[in-house]
């Protein structure tokens, strides 16, 4: 819609008209600053939570990307294994987005002591490379120790498993598993440490031994079931997966992102995003009703002036744009100030974080840290400011349209 008045004139009129009733404009702006500020903080808190959750989930043990033999992710069977992982490890290590890589040999097993036994998810790990990919080493409780490369009998167990079997550091544990040949094989290990992470899949069922011990015991030579990769950051995951698919075009390999292996966190994030969007819509709607009220009051106060303006030659387009630009200017100013206010609070709390340790046990299940760090992202900023402006345009349409419907003669008679 073009206007015979230049944009600068519209803007000047909008600013001056908003300053006509400074108190009303200030109250509307204050509502915006508080509303959008609170919204920005809530979104930053949610984004921080979700980012922490993703990082914790990936770094606890999953890694950003895993490479398996075709079918392993569904079967979790050692029969689907990578017989010679060395060339794959070398190809992965060449990718610039890779921060670290390690091999694992996973199998279901039974941990037994005199008079008791418990099923475990046994993982043969590389004691030197594993801590570069996951946080498993950080979960070793005081009194215990991480596995050593030359320790053929070393074993780490989840805290709940150790409790059920009534084990203490140094105790002997027999592990029993089915070898690839179908034979039941068992081996004696000694408990070096207990893992406590808060995540049930580790505390309630994880058993770690050295990968060389696992290979020798299960007689699988240099095989591995998983190549686990840590990318430089979350953003690098998709390009890295694409690069690896091109670098390793073997149809017998499955190269999967963390969210493909276990979509729970991604779904949780999507749910949280949806609820945030819902809150955002409600808050913006409430604020915009306030704006609509302000603009309608302002319009009704100026009916005579609009009549005069029409009488002296102002067209519908000019009147429409005049009101619309006024609304957008009010909302944009309030929205921007509100965003800056919310961003300032978020940034101030990003460093020290917000302590939610009172709920830490409940949140640990979802890989949440006891201290939450609000996170400002470009995406959320664009979303908040964008929705605010779109809503402003919508809210501005009605008073602007009403102004164009005025009859100049009737309008100038208004008192």
């Amino acid at each position: 819609m073009s206007s015979r008045l230049p944009f600068a004139t519209h803007l000047r009129l909008a600013v001056r008209n908003l300053l006509r009733n400074r108190r009303r404009t200030a109250i509307t702006l204050a509502a915006f600053v508080c509303g959008v500020g609170a919204l920005t903080f809530i979104v930053a808190l949610n984004d921080g939570w979700m980012a922490d959750m993703k990082t914790n989930f990936v770094l606890t043990q999953m890694g950003h990307i895993q490479i398996h033999a075709e079918g392993f992710n569904d079967s979790r069977s050692i029969d689907q294994r990578l017989a010679d992982p060395a060339p794959i490890l070398a190809a992965v290590a060449r990718q610039p987005e890779v921060a670290a890589v390690t091999a694992r040999l996973s199998i279901s097993a039974l941990a037994s002591v005199a008079g008791a036994s418990s099923g475990v998810d046994l993982m043969g790990i590389d004691p030197e490379n594993e801590p570069k990919v996951s946080r498993l080493r950080e979960f070793v409780q005081p009194g215990g120790e991480w596995l050593k490369a030359d320790d053929r009998r070393g074993l780490l167990l989840g805290a709940e498993v150790a409790r059920q079997l009534d084990l203490a550091i140094g105790d002997k544990v027999v592990l029993m598993a089915q070898s690839p040949g179908g034979e039941l094989v068992s081996e004696l290990f000694r408990l070096r440490g207990i893992l406590k992470s808060g995540a049930p899949e580790i505390d309630q069922g994880k058993a770690l031994i050295g990968i060389d011990s696992a290979r020798q015991w299960l007689e699988v030579e240099q095989a591995a079931t998983e190549i686990v990769i840590r990318a430089q950051n979350h953003e690098a995951v998709l390009p890295l997966q694409t690069a690896l698919l091109a670098e390793l075009p073997d149809p017998n390999l499955e190269i999967m992102r963390w969210s493909q292996i276990d979509p729970m966190i991604e779904q949780w994030t999507a749910t949280a995003d949806a609820s945030t969007f819902f809150i955002l819509t409600i808050v913006i709607a409430v604020i915009l009703i306030e704006v609509l009220n302000t603009m309608l009051m302002s319009m009704h106060e100026r009916v005579r002036e609009f009549g005069l303006m029409e009488a002296i030659g102002t067209g519908k387009r000019e009147l429409f744009l005049m009101l619309l630009i006024e609304t957008v200017l009010l909302v944009a100013t309030g929205g921007l100030l509100g965003y800056l206010f919310g961003a300032a609070i978020s940034l101030a709390l990003a460093g020290p974080g917000i302590d939610i340790s009172a709920f830490a046990d409940a949140f640990a299940f979802f890989y949440m840290d006891p201290v939450c760090h609000p996170l400002l992202t470009l995406k959320s900023g664009v979303k908040i400011v964008g929705i605010t402006l779109i809503a402003a345009l919508i809210a501005g349409l009605y008073p602007a349209w009403k102004a164009t419907r005025l009859n100049p003669v009737a309008a100038m008679r208004e008192v």
């Binding site: 015979r4 004139t9 002296i312 030659g313």
Partner: protein
């Protein structure tokens, strides 16, 4: 051809269930350069006639021609452009845009006409000087007296070089001294620039200043008097 010509103008208003005839077949022709005053009591149809001549309202029947051009078939927006090109207005009160200075108020119509900034400011200053308010050009309407505001409105009405200036009770809210000064100003502009004025008023001073006095009663012209 007359500058303004009305033919058989009829207009009625609906007040609840009662239909009130405001104009009953008014025929009026105004030549360029005339200083015409419409006189009559309240409700005689003066303002209605001004609104129809000014393309602010539409007749029920009849036609209005300005420079031979009829605006009846135009859209609301096109009528606004028509007014911008052909008609200047001075109303009884609330004549100015509150958030613009006197100079900006005069320049506003020129901006709508697409006149370049430097030229419109020069023109605005020229017309403010013409009405004796050049030094008050930066003041907003609420910093001007009623008389000064009316003079700014006259300057604005003339700035767009209209075919005619329509003034509806321009002195009604002014004291007699200020009202007299405004009439003299309009007479001066009529004489010096040949601007055509059509003024609706029942102020005796305005009536005395008329070059042509048109008396209205019950929506009809009942008497016309041409002077010097």
């Amino acid at each position: 051809m007359a500058l303004i010509e009305t033919r058989e103008l009829h207009k009625h208003y609906q007040l609840g269930e009662i239909s009130v005839a405001a104009l009953n077949g008014v025929e009026l022709a105004i030549e360029s350069g005339e200083f015409v005053v419409l006189a009559g009591r309240s409700g005689s149809g003066k303002t209605t006639l001004l609104n129809l001549v000014g393309a602010l309202d539409m007749p029920d029947r009849g036609e209005v021609f300005i420079r031979g051009e009829n605006f009846h078939s135009l859209s609301k927006d096109a009528r606004a452009s028509f007014r911008l090109r052909h008609i200047g207005f001075v109303f009884q009160a609330y004549n100015l845009i509150r958030v613009l200075s006197a100079r900006e108020n005069v320049a506003y119509v020129l901006e709508l006409q697409g006149v370049a900034k430097s030229e419109r400011m020069t023109l605005a200053d020229r017309w403010l000087a013409e009405v004796g308010l050049l030094e008050l050009g930066d003041r907003r309407p609420d910093q001007l007296s009623g008389g000064q505001q009316q003079r700014v409105a006259v300057a604005r009405a003339l700035a767009s070089s209209p075919a005619i200036v329509l003034a509806d009770e321009p002195t009604a809210n002014l004291d007699s001294h200020t009202g007299m000064a405004l009439i003299e100003l309009m007479q001066h502009l009529n004489r010096e620039h040949g601007t055509t004025f059509l003024i609706a008023s029942h102020d005796p001073n305005v009536l005395a200043a008329a070059g042509r006095l048109v008396r209205m009663e019950d929506g009809a012209i009942v008497e016309e008097e041409r002077r010097g």
